[in-house]
């Protein structure tokens, strides 16, 4: 028997006698829907698309960060619990510590992106005759990114080096996470490296040594070939 703890609000449970099981109680991930930016304003979205496409550039075999959906992934992550630092310890006082003490910023990821993208825009327009990051040719984009990475490009009102690290981390997350989160479109990143995705049983393969696993990747939502075409 399972009862909601009487006299108190939901959440706390008394479990006694049998396992607390109810039908359809699973909590699968919610798929990201295509469509307009949820968190970014259009200028921010354009900058992020340009950035992720240089961090992971397209090549003849595999799309780049933009077409793989990394910008959409980051947008949806920032609009959700990651962006608001939900669950993290965000109490003060805030002080800069040693590198060993970890990130001590009072700013949420969403706010950091907003500030850094505004600062990057200002930096690019001041350095490149009024052009935004997205308007720069690839070699200049790469120079700006290298400047952020090395700390030589100083942004006004944001920590460029910290932003670079966070952007690179989030871009890789989007590229390699399950496609339900908006990146890794058509599992392009998994195909690129040979990862078969959300499979669950390799018993027939564990001792087939030094052989390439033959099956294509699948995600939580299956794969394109599984979707019925036409009526």
């Amino acid at each position: 028997m399972t009862l909601v703890f009487s006299t108190t609000s939901a959440g706390a449970l008394v479990v006694k006698g049998s396992l607390p099981w109810t039908p359809n109680a699973g909590d699968p991930p919610t798929a990201v829907l295509p469509g307009p930016w949820v968190y970014f304003i259009p200028e921010e979205g354009a900058a992020i698309e340009a950035l992720v496409d240089r961090l992971i550039p397209p090549d003849p075999q595999t799309p780049g960060g933009k077409d793989a959906g990394c910008a959409v992934f980051i947008d949806r992550q920032l609009a959700g619990s990651y962006g608001s630092a939900e669950g993290l310890y965000m109490r003060g006082p805030f002080a800069n510590g040693t590198p060993q003490q970890g990130d001590q910023s009072p700013l949420t990821p969403a706010v950091r992106y907003r500030q850094a993208l505004a600062a990057l825009d200002k930096y690019c327009r001041a350095t490149f005759a009024g052009k935004s990051f997205a308007q720069l040719p690839d070699d200049q984009k790469d120079k700006v990114i290298s400047g952020l990475e090395e700390g030589s490009a100083t942004l006004d009102g944001a920590d460029g080096k910290m932003f670079f690290a966070q952007l690179l981390t989030n871009t890789r997350e989007g590229f390699f996470a399950d496609p339900v989160y908006g990146g890794n479109r058509d599992m392009v990143a998994w195909k690129m490296i040979g990862f078969p995705g959300a499979r669950y049983d390799y018993r027939d393969w564990v001792d087939r040594h030094n052989e390439r696993y033959p099956l294509p990747p699948v995600g939580f939502a299956g794969r394109p070939g599984w979707v019925r075409q036409g009526p």
Partner: protein, 588 residues
């Protein structure tokens, strides 16, 4: 206003491995047991079914199954001259949350400690002399021997169905097992897991160098197994989503897959989830626990009186609750007095990465505790005399999967982004491999836990403060062990290897393991231990403290087998000694 509940015989704080074990043993002895768990109830079908369990982003990167630091965290500094700052997001270690605790998301590497690990101070002093140990190293004996807890190791392994090959059966060495292990009273419950390519290559290379490789003891089962409680686990399918994940396949030993289905049928057991114990209550004498106070999700406070209090939370939170409740004397490093927070220790891991031209490892085919290991350089299995350090670890080919967000290994010199990075990831994903050393962390006078003077949790309680750094002994050890591992890996025929010994200072931002230890250690001398050899509080005899909290220092093995063996050992003492005559089980 606090509402007082009817008294119960036993209250358990935390329903992970040790809480489940104690609850099962004590309900079996006829006691009424209430377990209070801070997190939610978790089970396979609801929380991590195979339809979506293989989600690296959700579970590993975004920490879905873990405690939220907003609920509870700790502060950290490397030494007493620094100001500790809060750990705002988990990076260095990952405290679990909810029913099953760490037993839900562990790799299930099920190692016993060596016999000499339990008498470490005596053993090392006898072999090398007392001057061999660093001056401020505070290692000590456990107060219990390997032979005494062997039956309880056995009991836990047979609960789990652990897959492995014995190397020592009742004193007889067995081919194919770990020749350095202490004697086992019987073979593992199930045979070892089958091994992927890299592990087989590692074992061949190790043999060529004269070592004795053996399969890592695994709580991810090689075959279906029904345990003595009548609960059945299935065979592991090598999905490669083990550490940080719940097992969707009922094949990783956890409280959910071994105990809870039986425990929940006991009419004298009750669990309350999403309820957080905020303190252990004492009577006026301060020598008897009267129960616990906890809050539910609406912040309503409840008092649960009990005759016996079992502290079964994760190691760090056990120590914090003792400090917050004013039980035992807090440790003071400058005076070298007190016991709560003393002898905090951790783990020293290191890696050798290898890049191959002609190999395909299919790294995604794995389990959390698969792999082949050698134990020649663990504990005191080798002569430390010429090397000037103590301690050691096992090493082997134990990569737990190929989850792609964090398995983008590239050769040194590869840029972190751009076309070259992308090509290097594509070229090396299937053909590179990470080998590992998993080594000891001994205790020191200046490494400890206490309450932070500045930072508080959401209820206004002081956070616990960790003061920790590696010492020269451990860094020397890591260099030596990593060099030995590299020699084996080199024999596997790679194009290139990268040695990554552990270096200082310790950083809270780099994950090693979640094997934090100590802080209320067991022992025979109450001036340097918080609990006696039965894990009973010296100060409050109707309080027992479980977990790696009791380790006087950490050995070069994963802790869970020892944590759970000690839980069974303590349960036995409670049922067969304490209940007959409640009071201190060891007189001082």
């Amino acid at each position: 206003m606090t509402r007082k509940l009817p008294a119960t015989d036993v209250v358990i704080i935390g329903l992970g491995w040790t809480g489940s074990i104690l609850a099962h043993e004590l309900t079996g002895a006829g006691l009424n047991v209430v377990a209070i768990e801070r997190g939610p109830w978790r089970d396979t079908a609801t929380d991590f079914p195979p339809a979506f369990a293989q989600d690296e982003l959700r579970y590993h990167i975004r920490h879905d199954l873990f405690l939220r630091p907003a609920q509870q965290t700790m502060t950290f500094r490397n030494n007493v001259n620094q100001t500790a700052l809060p750990i705002r997001a988990w990076q260095g270690f990952m405290p679990g949350n909810g029913v099953g605790g760490g037993g839900l998301h562990w790799n299930a590497q099920t190692w016993r400690f060596n016999p000499t690990d339990f008498q470490l101070k005596t053993h090392l002093t006898q072999r090398y002399g007392s001057k061999f140990l660093p001056e401020n190293m505070t290692i000590q004996d456990w107060g219990v021997t390997y032979d005494e807890i062997e039956p309880y190791y056995d009991k836990f392994e047979y609960l789990c169905g652990t897959s492995g090959k014995a190397g020592n059966l009742n004193g007889q060495k067995q081919a194919g097992g770990n020749p350095f292990e202490g004697p086992r009273s019987r073979e593992y419950p199930t045979p070892p897991q089958r091994q992927p390519y890299a592990a087989v290559l590692f074992a061949q290379a190790a043999k060529e160098l004269g070592y004795f490789p053996f399969p890592q003891p695994s709580g991810n089962l090689s075959q279906a197994y029904t345990n003595p409680l009548g609960v059945t686990l299935g065979a592991c399918t090598f999905c490669g989503f083990c550490e940080w994940f719940g097992c969707g396949n009922y094949s990783k030993a956890s409280p959910q897959t071994t105990i809870l289905p039986a425990l929940i049928r006991q009419p004298n057991f009750e669990a309350r989830t999403n309820c957080e114990v905020v303190r252990i209550n004492l009577d006026k004498s301060g020598k008897r626990a009267t129960g616990v106070t906890y809050i539910d999700t609406s912040d309503q406070e409840w008092e649960q009186p009990a005759d016996l209090v079992l502290l079964c939370a994760f190691q760090l939170f056990n120590v914090q609750l003792l400090l917050t409740s004013g039980i035992g004397k807090p440790y003071n490093p400058s005076r070298n007095e007190g016991v709560i927070g003393r002898n905090y220790s951790y783990q020293v891991t290191s890696n050798v990465d290898a890049f191959f031209d002609d190999k395909n490892f299919n790294p995604f085919i794995s389990s959390g505790s698969i792999g082949m290991c050698i134990d020649e350089f663990n504990g005191d299995n080798f002569d430390h005399g010429p090397h000037g350090f103590v301690g050691g670890g096992y090493m082997g080919a134990v990569q737990t999967g190929g989850r792609p967000i964090l398995t983008t290994r590239t050769p040194p010199g590869t840029p972190a982004w751009g076309a070259q990075w992308k090509k290097a990831v594509a070229d090396n994903y299937l053909s590179s491999y990470e080998t590992m050393v998993h080594a000891s962390s001994y205790s020191y006078r200046d490494v400890y836990c206490d309450l932070d003077p500045t930072y508080t949790d959401r209820l206004g309680r002081k956070l616990m403060r960790i003061t920790f750094d590696f010492h020269e002994n451990e860094l020397k050890m890591s260099q030596y062990l990593t060099d030995r591992l590299a020699e084996v890996v080199q024999k596997m025929g790679p194009r290139q290897i990268v040695k990554l010994p552990r270096t200082g200072p310790y950083t809270s931002t780099q994950y090693q393991t979640t094997h934090t230890c100590g802080g209320a250690v067991m022992g025979t001398d109450r001036s340097i231990s918080a609990v006696n050899r039965y894990l009973q509080s010296w100060d409050v005899p109707n309080l027992f403290v479980m977990g790696a909290t009791a380790f006087p220092q950490n050995a070069g093995y994963n802790p869970t087998d020892t944590v759970c063996a000690l839980a069974y050992w303590a349960a036995d003492a409670i049922v067969n000694q304490y209940l007959k005559n409640p009071g201190p089980l060891v007189q001082t």
